[in-house]
């Protein structure tokens, strides 16, 4: 029995884990018995990558299958990590079309969660860039899915949380970049309304995200730093800046669980206030940042999830439809600051509608929070879920650890269609995770 808990380490779950070294064995293990789901690098925060009865780790599927430098088309096996892709291709002048907040995820995981990044409002989710993939089905067959081939399975698997079968490989295009540097501009929003306004303007930046101080109150409620970024061109670099800075080595690690109460209202509030003031000093300035620290600041700290202590934390990401966003986000922020349930990392971002059957994004605004696990914290999240549901929003399944079946069903309108595709593929009841059990999928 292995500890299969997600990155948030809540809920704590153990179970058998089987490793596959080849596509043939991954396909065989997918078909072998029901109650299985694939797991990549285990960065889903909650219980999504834990099989109902057993978990399949296709860890050996880490080979690239081909790369065409003329078109940027990369074919890779499902367990190839984003980290591997970045360290291999950034120095060659290529960058993935979409990257999430950590580079320790696999190609298969990025498709199953249909991950998004800071460019989602411009470029969509990762799934929108996938041209084709191979899926191992519960009956032992492997099928190729593309935009013109097995299209139902194609659209159900993107964002389908591994519940249609096991992804064996995929192809998608990398984009050309001139350098490994990101040109970052910081601007300040004094309150939520300003922040939403700044996120909505079309500044031409490829990447836009807001860091939001969730503990600010009153007139400062929702004060934020808006961080815009774009890939820098060669001529923007200084004479001593290498076009492709090497990824940072020598990661520091959190060696043990910090005490669970360390992150309390006082410390988080102080941190947030400091971060906000530091950022505000840079307002209007443009700086060049290496790609890894721009996109993956937390990857520099191995096992950062331990700062929340042994009880773990819940990462909570909701999206609220455009027209209700400001009103509902105000209430959420007020509740957070009232209860003092601060979040180190609260991120606000504009999203556009996704294309997968079960994709998370919709036209609106998304708020991502880290909440340390406690009775009070979970109660607050349940309250927030109610607000999200009522506003017609939904929660991101890759981060979800505790939403109710009602919240889920209200948020995802295509559940019935998803159900049908899975039934036709023999995946219903066969491909099954702790999360799908919890949500009645």
């Amino acid at each position: 029995m292995k500890d299969l808990s997600g990155w948030g380490r809540y809920p704590r779950l153990f179970g058998p884990l089987t490793t596959a070294l080849t596509a043939a064995s991954a396909a065989r293990l997918t078909a072998a018995a029901p109650g299985v789901v694939a797991r990549g690098l285990g960065r889903a925060y909650g219980d999504a990558a834990i099989g109902r009865d057993r978990t399949l780790a296709p860890a050996g599927l880490d080979r690239l299958q081909g790369f065409d430098p003329d078109t940027g088309l990369l074919r890779a096996e499902a367990a190839v990590s984003l980290d591997d892709i970045l360290t291999t291709f950034v120095p060659r002048g290529f960058f993935p079309p979409v990257v999430p907040g950590t580079r320790f995820v696999t190609v298969g995981g990025m498709i199953a969660s249909d991950v998004h990044g800071k460019n989602q409002h411009n470029d969509g989710t990762f799934g929108e860039h996938v041209e084709a993939f191979t899926l191992a089905l519960p009956d032992g067959r492997t099928v190729r899915c593309a935009r013109d081939q097995n299209t139902d399975l194609f659209h159900a698997t993107i964002g389908g949380m591994g519940l249609t079968g096991t992804i064996l490989d995929a192809s998608f295009r990398l984009r050309r970049v001139d350098t490994g540097w990101i040109r970052q501009t910081t601007s300040v929003a004094n309150n939520l309304s300003d922040a939403i306004g700044l996120l909505s303007r079309t500044s031409g930046a490829t990447y836009t995200v807001a860091w939001i101080d969730v503990l600010a109150r009153g007139a400062a409620l929702g004060r934020s730093l808006i961080l815009e970024g774009g890939h820098a061109a060669r001529d923007e670099l200084g004479p001593r800046q290498a076009p492709f800075p090497p990824a940072r080595a020598g990661r520091v690690s959190v060696p043990f669980d910090m005490p669970s109460g360390l992150l309390n209202a006082k410390t988080v509030s102080a941190f947030n206030a400091l971060y906000y003031r530091k950022g505000a000093l840079r307002a209007g300035q443009t700086s060049l940042v290496p790609w890894d620290s721009y996109f993956f600041p937390l990857d520099g700290i191995a096992r950062w999830n331990r700062i929340y202590g042994p009880r773990g934390f819940v990462q909570h990401q909701c999206v609220i439809p455009e027209e209700r966003a400001e009103a509902v986000l105000s209430i959420i922020l007020e509740r957070l600051s009232q209860t003092g349930t601060g979040s180190f990392l609260a991120v606000l971002k504009r999203l556009r509608a996704g294309t997968g059957l079960m994709s998370f994004p919709m036209d609106g605004l998304t708020l991502a929070l880290d909440i340390p696990v406690s009775e009070r914290g979970l109660a607050l999240l349940a309250e927030i879920d109610g607000l999200v549901s009522e506003a017609g929003g939904r929660l991101y399944l890759a981060k979800d650890a505790c939403q109710s079946r009602e919240t889920f069903e209200a948020g995802y309108p295509n559940i019935a269609a998803f159900h049908e595709v899975r039934r036709d593929a023999g995946a219903l009841g066969h491909m099954s995770s702790k999360q799908s059990e919890r949500l009645g999928l």
Binding site: L21, R63, L64, Q65, G66, F67, P69, L74, R75, T88, R92
Partner: protein, 249 residues
């Protein structure tokens, strides 16, 4: 990239974890790599991976069964050019307990670790000597330094291979051909997965590969991938047999 034509390496046993790391290290240096392996599908998979990873890489595959010794001369002569370097990573640990009661299994372990690699490198050596240059790298094992109850069939195969490489090196010393014996010690691979390996004595496949590719710049005779292994094996070899035979190692 220089204008000189790319050098070429023949990697025998190219689908193992160590073989994969070695192939990657050579491809990263711009060498042409030929992977020889028993399973063509597995070899093609590794070649596709390397060709995708390394700009301008040219990694090709050939099918070769290390137990089919008669095929070696023909195999070498069919290569488009005689490679500059040959690295032999072939090996199989087998199962000691099974080898004790199943002579066919014992014979296969011995042949895979000793007979096949030795005869293949013998065929390479003759061709390299005729050309007057070349580097031969044989991956042997610390297990061949002294026979132990827990793995002496494998160890004996590696001991034979170590002796063969030593003899080849001696014979070719004045021919312009260099022969290197590499002893990786414990390596974290599929072959050792699930074993409880001591961290300070366990190397990553990439480290083994670095030490092998470094031989191109600075030829050495016997390489312990982790230097502390040299001391460990010195001590183990120094223990008198009367005592050694009673030890559990």
């Amino acid at each position: 990239m220089s204008d000189a034509p790319a050098k070429s390496v023949l990697l025998v046993g190219g689908t193992s974890d160590i073989g994969r790391a070695v192939a990657s290290a050579y491809a990263a240096r711009g060498w042409h790599v030929t992977l020889a392996a028993r399973n063509p599908e597995a070899a093609d998979r590794e070649a596709a991976d390397l060709n995708a990873r390394h700009e301008g890489a040219r990694v090709e595959t050939r099918t070769l069964d290390i137990l089919e010794t008669d095929a070696f001369p023909g195999f070498l002569d069919a290569l488009p050019t005689l490679p500059d370097t040959v690295v032999c990573v072939v090996g199989a640990m087998g199962e000691q307990a099974r080898a004790e009661r199943d002579p066919a299994h014992a014979a296969e372990v011995l042949r895979t670790n000793f007979e096949g690699p030795a005869l293949l490198l013998e065929a390479v050596a003759g061709r390299f000597a005729a050309r007057g240059r070349g580097l031969i790298v044989g991956i042997s094992s610390v297990a061949g330094d002294r026979g132990r109850a827990t793995n002496y069939v494998y160890g004996a195969g590696k001991a034979g291979f170590t002796a063969y490489l030593s003899g080849l090196r001696n014979r070719l010393a004045k021919s312009g051909v260099h022969v290197a014996t590499v002893k990786p010690g414990f390596v974290r691979t599929r072959m050792t997965e699930g074993m409880d390996l001591p961290g300070p004595l366990t190397a990553a496949p990439a480290t083994v590969a670095e030490r092998i590719v470094a031989l191109e710049d600075r030829p050495r005779d016997v390489v312990y991938v982790l230097r502390r292994w040299r001391l460990v094996m010195l001590i183990i070899r120094a223990i008198p047999e009367a005592i050694f035979k009673k030890l559990k190692l």
